[in-house]
Each structure stands twice: as structure tokens, then as C-alpha cells.
């Protein structure tokens, strides 16, 4: 199966990159751009066939490695 993991900064954690992007977009003349946040997307191919088992193991991957839960949160999408 395929897993897509989004790792984004928790609210309240400042995001210099997002800020810079927002700033750049405005000065490039894109009007009405509000807050911008940048995160990571990680696409994995996994052998596991069972969706819930897959989700469980990807969740472990996030807790152990993919996200730093001090500053980051994650979402997981599983697709066949």
C-alpha cells in the first residue's frame, strides 16, 4: 500500500519558512495571502496489505522518527 504522511508545525510554533514565503508572495504582488505554513510530506511504499495494520505501523514510524512531537503534528493517509 501507499502511505502519505503530513508533518506540520504545531500551532503556536513559529514557522520562519512559512513567514518568509508569505512575505515573498506579497512582494511578488499576490494580493490577500494570509498565513502561510510549510510542512513536510513523506510518501512511503509499504508491503503491509491490511489498511489498519498499515496505519498502525506508520503511526509508530511517526512517533519514533518522522515527526518531532515537541514541535510537530502529523496526519496519515493510507491508499491502496
Amino acid at each position: 500500500m501507499k502511505a502519505r504522511v503530513f508533518v506540520t508545525l504545531k500551532n503556536g510554533v513559529l514557522d520562519p519558512q512559512g513567514k518568509a514565503i508569505g512575505h515573498a508572495l506579497n512582494s511578488l504582488g499576490f494580493p490577500g495571502v494570509g498565513e502561510v505554513r510549510q510542512g513536510k510530506v513523506i510518501d512511503l511504499e509499504i508491503a503491509e496489505r491490511d489498511e489498519s495494520k498499515a496505519r498502525a505501523s506508520v503511526e509508530q514510524m511517526c512517533e519514533k522518527l518522522l515527526a518531532n512531537t515537541v514541535i510537530e503534528k502529523y496526519e496519515i493517509e493510507i491508499s491502496p
Binding site: 519558512q17 518568509a20 512575505h23 515573498a24 506579497n26 512582494s27 511578488l28
Partner: protein, 736 residues
């Protein structure tokens, strides 16, 4: 694509092979090449690998000296620096890739030149970069500067090799062709140098490093896409650098080199597997057999053509002594790198390549190397320009000084070098900002001095004198820190060599380099050529970048540009006629790039440099600065800003503008305690020099009696201001 697929005239043309060359290939093979063989010839006979336009001229370069252990012909040059230590260095360009994708182009350029150095058995200890960008106001320039600088830092910083210097110019002629020339200097032991000659038959050929993907396969594959298995999204040819893998590759190679398992080793640079295997076989006078099925592959369904021409980064090819494979595999396993025996050396003198059980290429090795075409392209010898250099004598001196030191070509490069880790390895004694970088030989009391120099506007006005000047300035910068100049590497960046005027520039520049390097005993030990730097017929300024390396025998006898004491006498060494031709003063203040390039008198160059160096070596002088772009007053301002001490210049008996802003060559400013100045002037006269008393260090401003003064604070504001202001553009710094 199948090896058998017939080669049509279009395909031949798409591979950049002329009809004559194709006929020659048929003759050498005794039959028409298949597509794989054609691809191999196209890269091996390309300008980049064969130097077919320049080789005949490069022979005129002096490459020998008692201290030169390896001149041009290996991956990098090697010079003796005493005590059994050697310095290994080379400069190489990554111009086109950096224009296409500045971050990755510059990053992979850094990675490539580092491999050239550590493939010789040396640990890289210093990086330099010589950069040329288009006009600051050109819409692409800012983005290219940001990307190139971030890419150089991104790769070099991760490698843990300090980037200690370089040079940067802006000029409209580079609008469509920026130049990114990276130089790497490494240290090794004289008895532990590794070369690329694959001598002997029956030895295992091993592949080391990253897997092979479809990276950087030359444009020809694009054109012959119909031959490829997958016709998915248009295949990118941009290589992405992986400095992490390169760092592991460096450590693993040095670990393997500590054993005696290696017969020959060679990085896979341009034309990857093809050129590395062909070069090794050719230099070893042997043959080579490769089995592509054993090549570690990153993608599925790769064809023989793609594997042979891939320019995936962070890969090496080595020939081991038979039976040593396991030992090597253990080392690369520890560093978690791919390792595979992919072939063996033979005595057939042929390059034989198998894929999926079929022979896909069978080529006599000499056909790829010795038999590669060498052209005597038509040459039109350039006329040196010598038009008038009138200027307005009424312009206020200090306004001009401020403009100059705040101009793109003279302002502080801090914005750039603060993005480079210049202090890692804890041996950087002089970092960016001085005349030459100084890097201590680890654990020793001696150091290497390193510089890169060329003044393209001089080379345009007079290719011969301009190239002489580039070598002389490198020699001068090394002397100014107290180092004995030893050897150079060169990176010849030019336009289209098929144009006789361009070929004329190339030829004259090589003659200029040759003359200066002969007289100064400053031989060429390595280098690289980058031609066809043109956009819509407009060529870049001729840019023969020179990388110079020198030796400081005693690290404690060294000079910097900074004034150290109040009350020092500032003494000018070298003759000042007030040459304004091609000066930055004319360009920035009078807005005219006119006049003759300053001539270099190599005899007085040598006399002046030897005198200054001796003063430093004997501990008489610890402040010295050569006078180059911008002239005397700019040099003096730089010394004052660096030391935080001003200067007082008594009544000038000379016409101020030519005297203070002229770019006469072979000159230095030194400063010594007032009490010692008289004796020093005497010594200079006895040595046949014409020393001049310029003034005295003091205060917080530079004052010219009867003219006025300017504070160091104001100078600093102008000097440090331009780059950050220019780059504060609302543009994201590129990150990987």
C-alpha cells in the same frame, strides 16, 4: 532502445558528432557504431572530455618544477610541500548546470571537484569558488547569486571542508552564462598518492558509492527519447547532489586507501562510467570488460546507453588487486555505501560492455582517448585596445572612493562567505577578506596559502596581458601573506572556439599564462576548460580563472592586510605611473570601460614580491596588501577598515586621481613601525626597488592633506552595504 537500433544521420547530429568524426569512428571500429557505441564516442570525443579545441594549445603551458610531483593528466595536480607532505588541487567549472539550476548545479560542482582531489588519496582541506554573474540589474542575477551561494555552502558545509575564499564579478556579458568555478585543495603523504592507470589484466573493477540513475544524461538522450523503454514525464537531466553520501564516500575511500588493495581509482565525473573506465584503461595501457547487470541501479529498466552515460553523482570506479574484494566490501559496508564488482581488466586493449548477456559495446580503448580528434581551429589574433582614458580631474576624491568600495565588484563579500563554514577543521588561519586564505597543515607549523584570481575586463582588452596579470595577481596575493607561490590550476572559460576571434582569445590567454608562469616559476599542475559560454552569439568576457597555492614555512611569520598599530609608516612597493586604462575608477566613476589593460612587468613583479615576502619571512613586516582593483586608495581603505585604524596622507606631489586610483601592477602597501621605516626604505633601494612613503597610520579616518578626510565608519557603511541591500530582495533563499 536496443543496442542494435540503427544509427541515422539525425541521431549522429543529435550526438554532436560531425560527418568527418563519424567517418573516423567507422574507420576506427571497422564498422558502423551501434547507438551505445555512438553515445560512448559522443561523450569521449566531446569538448569537455577530449579538449579537442584546446589540447594543442595547452601543450604550451609550463607544467614542471622540482616541487611538482604530478602535473596535468591526472584527476588533480600534486606538489611537494616538504616533510613528505603534498598538496593536491584542481579547479573545475560547473557553469551551465548552475545556470539551469543554481543550487544543485553549484552543489554538484563542489562535489565533483572534491572527488577529483580525494580520488588521489588526499583529504580535502580547503575550498575556493570563483564566480561571475550578469549585471546586478538583470532579472535573473539575484536568483542565481542566491542559489549558487546556497548550493556551494549546502554541499561544502556538510562535507566539513572549510570554504575559505574565492572571487565574484558582475558583468552583463555573463547575463546568459554565469561562471561557477570551484577549486579544492587537499593534503596527502607523498608516498600515498593514488592514480588512475589501470595497469595489468585480470584485476577486479569495482563500483563504489551511490546507485546509478538517469541523472544528467546528455541532451542527446532527450533527442533520442523514442529509443527508451518508458516514455513517461520528460526525463530530467539535472543532477541532485547528496553531500551526505559524498562524506561517507570520502571517509570510506581514505579508509580503503590506507590498505594496499588499490591498483587504480578514478571518480566518475563527466560521462560517468564511460569516461572513468575508458580513461583508466587507456592510462593503464590495458583493456576493460564491464557487465552492466551488476551496476547498482536506482531506477528500473535502465538501458545500457543510459547506464554508460549517466552522470549520477557520488560514484567512484576502482581497480583492486585480485582477492582484495572482500576487504574493500567490508569497508564500504561499514559506511553503508553500494559496492559491486562490475568487471575486470584485460590485455585486449578494448572496452567491452555486456548487458543482459549481450555485448552492447566493443571499442578499442585508444579510439576513445589517443585517437580522439585534436583541432587546430582557425585563429584571429586579437588586437589589444588602447583608446583614450580621459577623466574629470575635478571629481571629489572621497565621493569616488565611497562609490568604488560600495560598488558590486569591490564591496565586501561577507554576505556570501558568512554562508560558508570557513572555520570547520580548526586550521583556518586567514579566512575570507584577506589577500589569500591561509590554512594550517594539520598538526604542523606550516600552512598553505590559497587564492583565485582573474580580471576579465583586462583579458577582454588584451588577452595576453590580461592572462599574464591573472597569474601575476595570484602570485602577488600569495606573496602578500608571506607565502612562497608554488603552482597554479587554471579554469579557462571562453565562448565558442569555432569562432576565430574566440579561438584567438583562448590562444593569447594561454600564451599569457604560459609566460607569467614560466618567469614566476609558477607552473600549471591542473585545470579545466569551459567553452561555448555564449548566448545568442554573445560571448562572455574571456575568463581564465587562476587558482594559486603557496607555502608558509612558518605559520608565525605571516602578514594580514589589517593595520595593527598607530604611527606605522605606510610604504608603497612598486612603481606607480597612474595607469587608468580598464580601471574600476573609469568604469564606476566615468562609466567607461576604456583604455589599455595594465601591463605586467614580470621582472619587477618578481623583484617586488620577493622583497615583500622576505620582509614577512624575517619578521620585519606583519601588515601587507597587494594593490589591485580600485588602486592604491582602495587598498589603503581596506587595510584601515580591517584594522580599525585610519591613515594620514601628507601633501601629494602627484596628480591625485591617477596616483590614487590607477591600477598599475606589481605593487604592495606595507606598514612598519615609524622607527623602522628609514632602514626599510634603504633596503628597498639597495634591492633596486622604488619604495615610496605614502603616509602614517592613525585615528579613525583616512585623511589626505589639503583634500579632506572620511571616517572609517562611513567607509564601512558603504563597503558592507551593497550586498545585503541587493540581496534583501524578497526572494526565498533556496534550501534543499
Amino acid at each position: 532502445m536496443t543496442a542494435q537500433s540503427t544509427v541515422t544521420p539525425e541521431i549522429v547530429r543529435e550526438h554532436g558528432i560531425s560527418e568527418e568524426e563519424y567517418a573516423r569512428i567507422r574507420k576506427l571500429l571497422g564498422h558502423a557504431p551501434n547507438l551505445v557505441e555512438l553515445g560512448v564516442f559522443s561523450v569521449m570525443w566531446s569538448e569537455h572530455c577530449s579538449y579537442k579545441s584546446t589540447r594543442a594549445h595547452l601543450r604550451r603551458l609550463p607544467t614542471k618544477a622540482p616541487w611538482v610531483l604530478q602535473g596535468p593528466g591526472e584527476n588533480a595536480g600534486v606538489i611537494d610541500i616538504g616533510d613528505g607532505d603534498v598538496a593536491v588541487f584542481k579547479m573545475e567549472s560547473h557553469n551551465h548546470p548552475s545556470f539551469i539550476e543554481p543550487y544543485q548545479g553549484a552543489a554538484t560542482g563542489v562535489g565533483g571537484i572534491m572527488r577529483d582531489v580525494f580520488t588521489m588519496g588526499a583529504r580535502p582541506v580547503a575550498m575556493m569558488n570563483a564566480l561571475r554573474f550578469g549585471a546586478p540589474e538583470h532579472e535573473k542575477t539575484r536568483h542565481l547569486v542566491a542559489g549558487v551561494v546556497a548550493g556551494i555552502g549546502g554541499y561544502g558545509n556538510c562535507m566539513g571542508v572549510p570554504t575559505v575564499g574565492g572571487e565574484v564579478n558582475f558583468h552583463p556579458s555573463y547575463n546568459g552564462n554565469i561562471l561557477v568555478n570551484a577549486m579544492c585543495v587537499g593534503l596527502a603523504r607523498a608516498d600515498r598518492i593514488f592514480k588512475s592507470a589501470a595497469k595489468g589484466a585480470g584485476n577486479p573493477v569495482v563500483y563504489i558509492g551511490s546507485k546509478t540513475g538517469r541523472d544528467g544524461i546528455h541532451g542527446a538522450t532527450m533527442a533520442s527519447a523514442e529509443f527508451s523503454e518508458d516514455s513517461g514525464e520528460k526525463r530530467p537531466t539535472v543532477q541532485v547532489g547528496d553531500p551526505f553520501t559524498e562524506k561517507l564516500l570520502l571517509e570510506a575511500c581514505l579508509e580503503l586507501m590506507a590498505t594496499d588493495a588499490i591498483i587504480a581509482i578514478q571518480d566518475m565525473g563527466a560521462a560517468g562510467l564511460t569516461s572513468s573506465s575508458a580513461e583508466m584503461a587507456s592510462k593503464g595501457g590495458s583493456g576493460i570488460e564491464l557487465d552492466l547487470d551488476r551496476v547498482p541501479q536506482r531506477e528500473t529498466g535502465m538501458t545500457a546507453y543510459e547506464m554508460l552515460l549517466s552522470e549520477s553523482q557520488e560514484r567512484m570506479l576502482a581497480v583492486l588487486k585480485p582477492g582484495r574484494e572482500a576487504e574493500a566490501e567490508r569497508i564500504f559496508g561499514k559506511w553503508e555505501l553500494d559496492f559491486a564488482v562490475i568487471g575486470t581488466t584485460t590485455n585486449t586493449g578494448r572496452m567491452l560492455v555486456r548487458h543482459q548477456g549481450r555485448i552492447v559495446a566493443d571499442i578499442p580503448v585508444h579510439a576513445l582517448s589517443e585517437e580522439a580528434p585534436v583541432y587546430q581551429r582557425p585563429v584571429i589574433h586579437p588586437l589589444a585596445r588602447s583608446d583614450d582614458t580621459s577623466f574629470d580631474p575635478a571629481r571629489p576624491l572621497f565621493d569616488s572612493l565611497l562609490k568604488l568600495i560600495g560598488s558590486p565588484d569591490l564591496c565586501s563579500r561577507r554576505w556570501i562567505w558568512e554562508q560558508y563554514d570557513w572555520s570547520v577543521m580548526a586550521d583556518t588561519v586567514q579566512w575570507p577578506g584577506g589577500d589569500a586564505a591561509v590554512v594550517r597543515v594539520h598538526g604542523a607549523n606550516k600552512a598553505l596559502a590559497i587564492t583565485t584570481d582573474v580580471t576579465p575586463r583586462y583579458c577582454k582588452a588584451d588577452p595576453f596581458e590580461g592572462a599574464k596579470q591573472a597569474v601575476a595577481e595570484a602570485w602577488r596575493n600569495l606573496s602578500a601573506v608571506g607565502a612562497r607561490p608554488l603552482a597554479i590550476t587554471d579554469n579557462l572559460n571562453f565562448g565558442n572556439p569555432e569562432k576565430p576571434e574566440i579561438m584567438g582569445e583562448i590562444s593569447a590567454c594561454i600564451d599569457g599564462i604560459a609566460e607569467a608562469s614560466r618567469v614566476l616559476e609558477f607552473p600549471v599542475v591542473s585545470g579545466n576548460c569551459s567553452l561555448y559560454n555564449e548566448t545568442s552569439g554573445e560571448a562572455i568576457l574571456p575568463t581564465p580563472a587562476i587558482g594559486g597555492v603557496g607555502l608558509l614555512e612558518n605559520i608565525h611569520r605571516m602578514a594580514t592586510i589589517a593595520f595593527r598599530r598607530e604611527g606605522d609608516a605606510i610604504i608603497l612597493i612598486g612603481e606607480t605611473k597612474g595607469h587608468l586604462g580598464q580601471s574600476l575608477y573609469l568604469r564606476e566613476i566615468e562609466r567607461s570601460e576604456s583604455g589599455a589593460a595594465p601591463a605586467v612587468n614580470l621582472e619587477s613583479e618578481r623583484r617586488n614580491g620577493d622583497f615583500v615576502r622576505t620582509l614577512i619571512e624575517t619578521g620585519q613586516v606583519d601588515t601587507a596588501h597587494d594593490i589591485s582593483d580600485g588602486g592604491l586608495l582602495v587598498a589603503l581603505a581596506e587595510m584601515a577598515m580591517a584594522g580599525g585604524i585610519g591613515a594620514f596622507i601628507p601633501n601629494l606631489d602627484r596628480d591625485p586621481i591617477p596616483f590614487l586610483f590607477g591600477e598599475d601592477q606589481g605593487r604592495y602597501l606595507i606598514s612598519v613601525p615609524g622607527s623602522r621605516s628609514e632602514q626599510l626604505m634603504k633596503d628597498a633601494l639597495n634591492a633596486g626597488l622604488r619604495p615610496g612613503f605614502v603616509g602614517t597610520t592613525r585615528g579613525d579616518r583616512i585623511e589626505v592633506q589639503g583634500v579632506g578626510s572620511i571616517t572609517l565608519a562611513a567607509l564601512r557603511r558603504a563597503h558592507e552595504g551593497w550586498f545585503p541591500r541587493y540581496m534583501r530582495a524578497d526572494e526565498l533563499p533556496p534550501t534543499n
